[in-house]
């Protein structure tokens, strides 16, 4: 039995073209980019070429691209780094974030509140998980240090009006960060159009390797380093650069930015087919997140009185890999915080199901999944 992978929001396989770009940097160009000799120079060339490629598709300067170890590190560096410097520079002590951010933002914000004395305020979200620009305008204050709103939500797929929120922040001279880890796998990542000062990326969501990410830092934005030490990454992140992975991320980013519109068209068709059949064939199922303002590959549902964790195990035993917002592989499910924040009652919040297709998902894969799902949900409801 061939297992069908429908969990591309969790991670994606490495694109073979990316692997090909990376390989020489493991063996041939293995040098330390900080070294003076030719080995170091070759590695440094790969590193800076990678930075230039990232900058090209982000529409920024290479000096505005900081390499990190993952999207979470980018989020940490952005939020903690910006909050602490901004307070130092102008005494700003207020953080404004969405309540359904990725834990990398939520926990960092919590830490800034608990350990560093920041005032943490959550923006309201509508039933789709969207932050409205008007609410940002209402709550932003001169003493706001950073506003952070994710571009696309990982659990329910909803897109936020980042450009408009960015505009408001820019007018108020407040730093605006967006966690774009999910979004840049599918959407243009033009930081100029998005009006952001800081933007987080993780490579493995777009067919790049795990363990590498980037943070766009608008020129003139000072941050506290995420890791102190050597002068790598403009002094913001010490440690010898992971050159093969950075090269891989740049190639994967180049490919996704070139191919995203054609990938999205294909994904959207599958996504809409999944949404239509689930809502039609499964009783007591609701689409979570926005019906149209959502990631093109992302279908997510709340299923009443279903243990999402068990459902995902049952689906896997039948050859289909998806995920549940409330599920974790330790079998210690808590009601989904995101669904709770969106106003779902307890009989719905344990029954999250997320189905995310990828560039290689076929219509046959999706139909086979949809043919199986209703019976499995019915069985899970008997438990």
């Amino acid at each position: 039995m061939k297992n069908i992978y429908l969990d591309h929001a969790a991670t994606t396989p490495l694109d073979s073209r990316v692997l090909k770009a990376m390989t020489p940097y493991f063996t041939q160009h293995f040098g330390n980019p900080s070294s003076v000799h030719s080995f170091g120079q070759n590695a440094a060339a790969g590193l800076e070429r990678a930075r230039a490629i990232m900058a090209q598709y982000l529409h920024c300067q290479p000096s505005e691209v900081v390499f990190t170890s993952c999207g979470s590190e980018s989020d940490n560096l952005a939020l903690r780094g910006a909050a602490l410097t901004t307070r130092q520079e102008r005494g700003a002590n207020h953080l404004l974030i969405s309540p359904i951010e990725h834990p990398a933002i939520l926990r960092t914000a919590q830490q800034l509140q608990d350990l560093f004395g920041f005032e943490l305020e959550f923006l309201p979200v509508d039933k789709y998980g969207r932050v409205t620009p008007a609410e940002v305008a209402k709550r932003i204050r001169p003493e706001t240090a950073v506003v952070s709103v994710m571009y696309a939500n990982n659990e329910v797929g909803t897109l936020n009006p980042i450009a408009k929120i960015g505009e408001i922040c820019r007018e108020a001279s407040v730093l605006f960060h967006t966690d774009a880890v999910q979004a840049v796998a599918h959407l243009p990542a033009n930081v100029q159009k998005l009006n952001v000062a800081l933007l987080s990326i993780g490579a493995h969501k777009f067919y790049g390797p795990k363990g590498v990410g980037a943070l766009y830092v608008r020129d003139g934005t000072t941050l506290i380093p995420s890791q102190a030490g050597g002068a790598q990454e403009f002094g913001l992140r010490a440690g010898t650069e992971n050159v093969p992975y950075l090269v891989g991320m740049a190639e994967a980013f180049r490919l996704v930015q070139i191919e995203h519109s054609q990938r999205s068209t294909a994904s959207k068709k599958l996504r809409d087919r999944i949404i239509a059949r689930v809502l039609e064939e499964i009783p007591h199922a609701k689409l979570t997140g926005h019906p149209s303002q959502r990631l093109p590959n992302h279908a997510s549902f709340a299923l009443k009185n279903v243990d999402g964790n068990l459902l995902v195990a049952m689906l896997d035993a039948r050859g289909f890999a998806c995920s549940s917002g409330s599920a974790c592989k330790t079998g210690n499910p808590k009601p989904s915080g995101v669904l709770t924040a969106l106003g779902y009652s307890p009989e719905w919040t344990k029954g999250g199901l997320r189905v995310t297709v990828g560039k290689d998902t076929t219509s046959d894969d999706v139909e086979a999944f949809l043919d199986t799902l209703p019976d499995v949900v019915a069985l899970a409801r008997e438990m």
Partner: protein
């Protein structure tokens, strides 16, 4: 390949369930590993001593080595509802419960069996030391494990035919030493872990402290009385004492005194000398007969009144409503209401129930 059976194995990360999974895999079964997450007092992340995060990673690692799928299944709510609450209730009623039996019947089988079926399992397997033998085309008998030291049929007497017919005990034919040897032969990365614990949900393993925390009403002092009704002292609450207990009574007497009964009506702890503890009659309720049929005649059987006790011969007289009277051929001094009495015909486990008195 199409008629390959699917077996869902309850895994704990320990040597027994790991070898059970490996044996099934070697036999060519399609194997799925499962671990239940059970309730524990340490809220938040489950610290149940049988299914810690540590045990979970170990089980997941072993499943990976065996190349079988593995899932953790949440059973916290039902475990608390069924096992922990009845544990507390039983103590409040003067009994000394055995929560493993409740767990086996309702959680490991019952809850988990249903989920094993939902995962596509034809059978469920565990690392218990017990055997199953076909009696005819459909029915099975439950037999003691071949390793007399490890035999766990006592804990399995609560299972019914439907459950047993869909259960496999791959370790029943082996001794613990052989299982350890197989773990080495299979190259299983079995870390040194203590065997699964009784009272896995009690944070520090001290049931008295657990009761104080979760059932403060059991802290209900009353008199300690002799069998003749003389007041000899006072107790802290009946739940804190066990039948046969000698130490910690705080009563001075010329000869050692033992707890021989609990009088709920008077909230009195009855103590007496060792001979007064001896009993040869007991009544048993909620009996599960493995065969599914209540025996029509009184019969002679070996009776085990606790897991580690030696079996003694007795006459079992079945009664209405799954009860029985038992007359032992030799009196015992540790017959404890709340524990199970399990009946054996040689190596065959016939069934058993809860001792009422």
């Amino acid at each position: 390949m199409a008629d390959k059976r699917t077996v869902v194995v309850a895994m704990s990360g320990g040597v027994d369930s790991s070898v059970a999974a490996a044996l099934l895999k070697e036999r060519g079964e399609r194997v799925i590993g499962v671990m239940l997450r059970l309730w524990s007092e340490s809220e938040g992340d489950s610290r149940n001593r049988c299914c810690t995060v540590d045990a979970l990673s170990q089980a997941r690692y072993i499943a990976g080595e065996l190349d079988i799928p593995f899932y953790a299944i949440d059973a916290k709510d039902i475990f608390h509802e069924v096992v922990v609450k009845s544990f507390i209730d039983d103590y409040a009623q003067g009994l000394t419960p055995n929560p493993c039996l409740v767990c086996n019947r309702h959680i490991k089988w019952g809850f988990m069996y249903e989920r094993a079926r939902a995962l596509g399992g034809d059978f469920m397997a565990t690392g218990h030391y017990a055997r199953l033998r076909k009696k005819n085309a459909v029915e099975v008998e439950l037999l003691k494990g071949l390793d007399a030291q490890k035999d766990q049929s006592y804990f399995l007497h609560v299972l019914n035919q439907e459950m047993l017919q869909h259960t496999l005990f791959p370790l029943g034919e082996y001794t613990k030493a052989e299982v350890r040897g197989m773990a080495r032969d299979f190259n299983l990365p079995v870390a040194k872990r203590p065997d699964s614990q009784d009272l896995c949900f009690v944070g520090d393993g001290d049931y008295r402290e657990f009761l104080r925390r979760h059932a403060p009403q059991v802290e209900n002092p009353g008199p300690i009385l002799s069998v003749r009704g003389e007041k000899l002292g006072s107790h802290l609450g009946l739940a804190f004492y066990t039948i046969g207990q000698r130490k910690g009574l705080g009563v001075f007497a010329p000869r050692p005194l033992y707890v021989i009964a609990k009088d709920l009506a008077q909230n009195a702890l009855i103590v007496g000398e060792q001979e007064e503890l001896r009993q040869s009659q007991l009544t048993v309720r909620d009996i599960n007969w493995i065969s599914g049929a209540t025996p029509q005649q009184p019969f002679r059987a070996e009776v085990k009144i606790r897991y580690k006790a030696n079996a003694v011969w007795g006459m079992v007289t079945p009664e209405e409503q799954n009860q029985a009277r038992v007359k032992l051929e030799k009196p015992l001094h540790d017959i404890t209401p709340g524990q199970a009495a399990v009946f054996y015909d040689g190596e065959i486990c016939l069934g058993g129930g809860t001792i009422t008195k």
